[in-house]
Amino acid sequence: MWSGVVSRGKRLRLTDLDGGSNVSMLLYNALERHERYNMPDTLKGQHIFYLRAPYCLHSDMGRLLASITADMVGWHDTVCGHSDAARVLAKYGEHNYQQAHNDWYRNGRDCFLIELAKWGLGKKDLVPNLNFFSKVVSNEEGALSFVPGNSKPGDSIELRFELDALVVLNTCQHPLDPETEYKHRHVKLEVFSGDAPALDDASLTIRPENQRAWANNETYHNLRFQLP
């Protein structure tokens, strides 16, 4: 699990080192932590049920938190949430710290709550999260199925932050992953500097909604910070 503030314009690259990893993530405006990643606005703003490049991660205030600028996977789950202690116990059995020390079984909810607390956040701030590298599809009746093998060793995804964001993540297994064995899979995090998006940037032009949200980001930054 990890959390940190990444400033506007920087890129975060996540690389699935082992294949089959899952990265559960939540995002907040670092300066106004009441503003947070919003699953419904992300989906209905872009008319899509999953995420891939060049789509964006929307906040609940009509703004963009981040854009997906590179993606070797092509499908990332947005709706299935995270595991909790009861689910991990029922699925994988007892494997506590006393027995296993740092090979113990973690769960998504505890990892989120631990990292959120370090920034003054808690249960009220825990909302439906993203699951990078995991694919879940729906049939016409809405029944969901997990698609194994979605992400291969070395696959990566890159996010460009569109405002200063608090990033909270963990690598616990996806809650619908049918694998019966608990896996400690490894993900590399790297942060790079980068240029601001051009007006013809693919993430902004893919949907008119993203262009209007980007304009809201510009207004926010112009009001809050010194004009360039």
Binding site: M39, F49, D60, R63, V79, K124, P128, S138
Partner: protein
């Protein structure tokens, strides 16, 4: 589709919520809440909280996870953030209710439609006022991804998502039995920019048995 054996005349509480208004009320364990779409195609944006501890609240992702399915209908357990069933849907004459569409807000209206739609009334403002008027003051932080009863948000196998015309009609209802004491917060959606209310927001009625 499952009809209810309960007769409306037997309800101990009835209230009509006009479009654009909010309603907040406690439902005791064992009581049944019916939401009735009076004129058809009206989205009732709904949140539930544990009455004993409102930090425990409806969770869209836990509800989806529990049934490994997106839509709500008879038999669905509405799950909390703590992994408990808040209510169970016991009757449904509409057939499908949305978990993904969330609530409209003035801010998201600027993103979705146009910047000059910012002034139009939206569900989140109703949710905020309803949350502030509950016995324990709740705030924006307490407002999570809600249920949209009577709303149709189809997802295709290739991952497209749209807001479609409602599948509800006048007189259709959904009924749910409380598994614990819960607080129900409804915003009767005022949205005029998409077909979720059939372009004409109308009242819904709530009944408690």
């Amino acid at each position: 589709m499952t009809e209810s054996p309960l007769q409306a005349e037997a309800a101990t509480y009835r209230e009509v919520i006009p479009a654009g208004d909010w309603w907040v009320h406690e439902i005791k364990k064992g009581q049944t809440l019916r939401i009735l779409d009076l004129e058809g195609n009206q989205a009732a944006d709904t949140l539930f909280f544990s009455a004993a501890d409102p930090t425990e609240r409806y969770s869209a992702d836990r509800t989806i996870q529990e049934q490994a399915a997106l839509y709500l209908t008879t038999g669905t357990k509405l799950m909390s953030t703590e992994g408990n069933a808040l209510l169970t849907i016991t009757a449904d004459t509409c057939g499908r209710h949305d978990t993904l569409g969330g609530a409209c807000s003035r801010e998201s209206n600027t993103m979705r439609y146009a910047h000059d739609k910012e002034c139009m009334h939206a569900c989140r403002d109703s949710f905020i006022r309803g949350a502030q008027e509950w016995n324990v003051e709740l705030t924006k932080r307490d407002l999570t991804c809600n249920i949209n009863f009577f709303m149709n948000v189809p997802v295709t196998p290739d991952g497209q998502l749209s807001f479609a015309d409602g599948i509800s009609a006048p007189g259709r209802y959904v009924e749910m039995k409380a598994e614990m004491d819960v607080v129900c917060l409804i915003s009767n959606c005022p949205q005029l920019n998409n077909p979720c209310n059939g372009w004409n927001p109308t009242p819904v009625e709530v009944l408690i048995f």
